[in-house]
Amino acid sequence: MVLENILVLAITFIIVVIATFIRFKGSELFNKWVLVIASFLVIEIYGLLIGSLYFGWAALLFIGMTVICFGLVGGLLSSALISLQLQLYQNESAIYLFVSFLVFAISLFFISKGIRSIKFESDRRLSSLLHNSKQLNVFREVSLSMQQTLHLEKLLQTILTSVTAGHGLGFNRAMILLMEDEGKKLRGKMGTGPMTVEEGFATWEEISRKKYELKELIQIKETEEATDRNLNDRIKRLEISLDQSSFLLKALDSGTPLHIKEFDQHDKTLMEFVREFTIIEMAVFPLINQGNKVGVLIIDNPVNKRPIADSDIDSVIPLANQAAIAIHHAHLYKKIEDMALKDGLTGLLNQRAFESKMEEYCRTECSEQFSLMMIDIDSFKHFNDTNGHLLGNQVLTQTAKVINDTLAEGQFAFRFGGEEFIVLLPNSDIEYASLLAEKIRENVELTNFPCGETQPLGRLTVSIGAASNAVRNSIQVQELLDTADKALYEAKRTGRNRVVIDKGVRLS
């Protein structure tokens, strides 16, 4: 008898080990069936080797497993099966046994249900904690990055990276369109993300391999000249009028996010968007600060095609609100900066900007060759006296425009005071300055100014003096200005509507 008992325990051990090994090789249902069958085998072997003594108690193992694996139905069926078996082979009262087993099964069912509900509640709390913690992590990092700049481009890059990075909110792609023309149109500004699935996976692989953090990603995006060029080329071409109804206008007017899963074929702007960016689903967030509509943020998942959940939208809302504040502040800062550094009449940079530019330039590149030209409108006093100051102001604005339009990128025009302008030409020698000065003079001469014919030369003209630091080695900025001024004086003295260049022979 002892041997049988030991044998039963040994077989139980072997069966449960084999069952545990096998059960993970299939689905969850397979796993459950293996457990139930294993428990059934164990009690049947017990019955074979030991007999009916305590079989009812042993059967609780089988009933218990069926309840755990298949709930109340499993418990009911197994109770019935065991009761029937005992009735058939041992002549015991089936009803009495069945009721006993059923009480056990129901009790176990409610205990396991209670445990499951505690576990479920705990999982739900963990999930909620994870979600909120992650969101706070993102806001903290993003707030710090936003605080560090008032530069619009950097700000937009920070917002977009925060929305798309895995460390951030993890969307595949995001783009920002900002208001222009006092809210009459939206212009595409910047985007982050791929245009194709392959492009998306390549970027994702790169980020994973290098294990970038959100802060690092923001820095990389800020320093890289052009990220996601393919997407940005398309975004920068976007110019959407808000005169006619569209999904963008709807989002801006309602002030709430728009989740678009099905496309309204009548919305031309939407259909154009969908075609251009191969969108399958998207969310549009209006960027509004204190009633000021600053733009829209658009997100989608073209790579992993993950559906945008309502909780995803909730995650973006605080970030979009924060972004709206930051963008609005950046606009205001730019406006103030422009007011401080730009001439209110002509829109050119002013004398303060010239001084600060020269200071900045000389700190880094003054050893490089550069040229200056000083431009003065000929007989401007006569023009004002003859035609009035209002027309004089108009002429100043028009002259500034001609000068500015003649310059290339990286060349700067300043209104120096009165009717005098300065042009700074980095990396330019005196020959180039001379050619450009001649071009400006000619363009002014060819421009139709109001009442230009009242001028002594029969049209409105300018005289230009140019100088370069290459001509006078290691010359100071003030000295160069004096030199250009002397050349200008020479141009005036020798008949006006002329360009005189400093050849390095007449500096007193």
């Binding site: 545990t20 090789k25 457990l35 017990y46």
Partner: protein
């Protein structure tokens, strides 16, 4: 004697089932990944991943002595499974050991542990979500990954320490 046998039988069945289930589950994950890796020509060690979905529960840098003075060997990881009898990996918890209690520092849920190579295979239809999950689970509980995660968490604690008064490190 037989009554005792019944009790022992029940105990053996339940104990072996509960205590060995995680071992056999992990073994199966390993064996399954090995099999599928062969078919897909994947090297589990070479699969790149990022720490971007790891959620910190404690703000870094932290002034808590137990966090700021933590040594590398104080950082440890516990795998979290759904249940004892039907275990399935749901994530890993990263703790800092202290004399009073272990502090939960961060959590990485398996559903957010995404691997670009597998994402790409999933997109191509070479694997399904269930297969993806099994491979990523095996990758996450691989000793090399756990060591890397421990090092990363310790690095974050160090970075936090050096930037404590500069206010530039995130994490909650």
């Amino acid at each position: 004697m037989t009554g005792l046998t019944v009790i022992c039988m029940l105990v053996i069945f339940v104990a072996v089932m509960v205590l060995s289930s995680r071992f056999f589950y992990n073994l199966e994950l390993k064996s399954y990944t090995k099999k599928i890796s062969k078919v897909l020509q994947l090297d589990i060690l070479e699969l790149s991943y990022s720490f971007d979905q790891m959620v910190y529960f404690i703000s870094l840098p932290s002034n808590l002595a137990v966090i700021s003075n933590a040594r590398k060997e104080d950082v440890f990881i516990k795998c979290e499974y759904t249940s004892f009898y039907l275990p399935e990996l749901v994530g890993i918890r990263i703790y800092i050991q202290s004399q009073q209690e272990d502090i939960l520092l961060a959590y990485l849920p398996i559903k957010d542990f995404r691997l670009p190579k597998l994402d790409s295979l999933l997109e191509q239809g070479s694997i399904n979500e269930a297969e993806y999950l099994k491979i990523s689970m095996n990758k996450l509980i691989h000793p090399a990954t756990l060591t890397e995660i421990t090092e990363e968490v310790y690095k974050q604690l160090q970075v936090g320490k050096s930037e404590m008064y500069m206010g530039t490190k995130g994490g909650l």
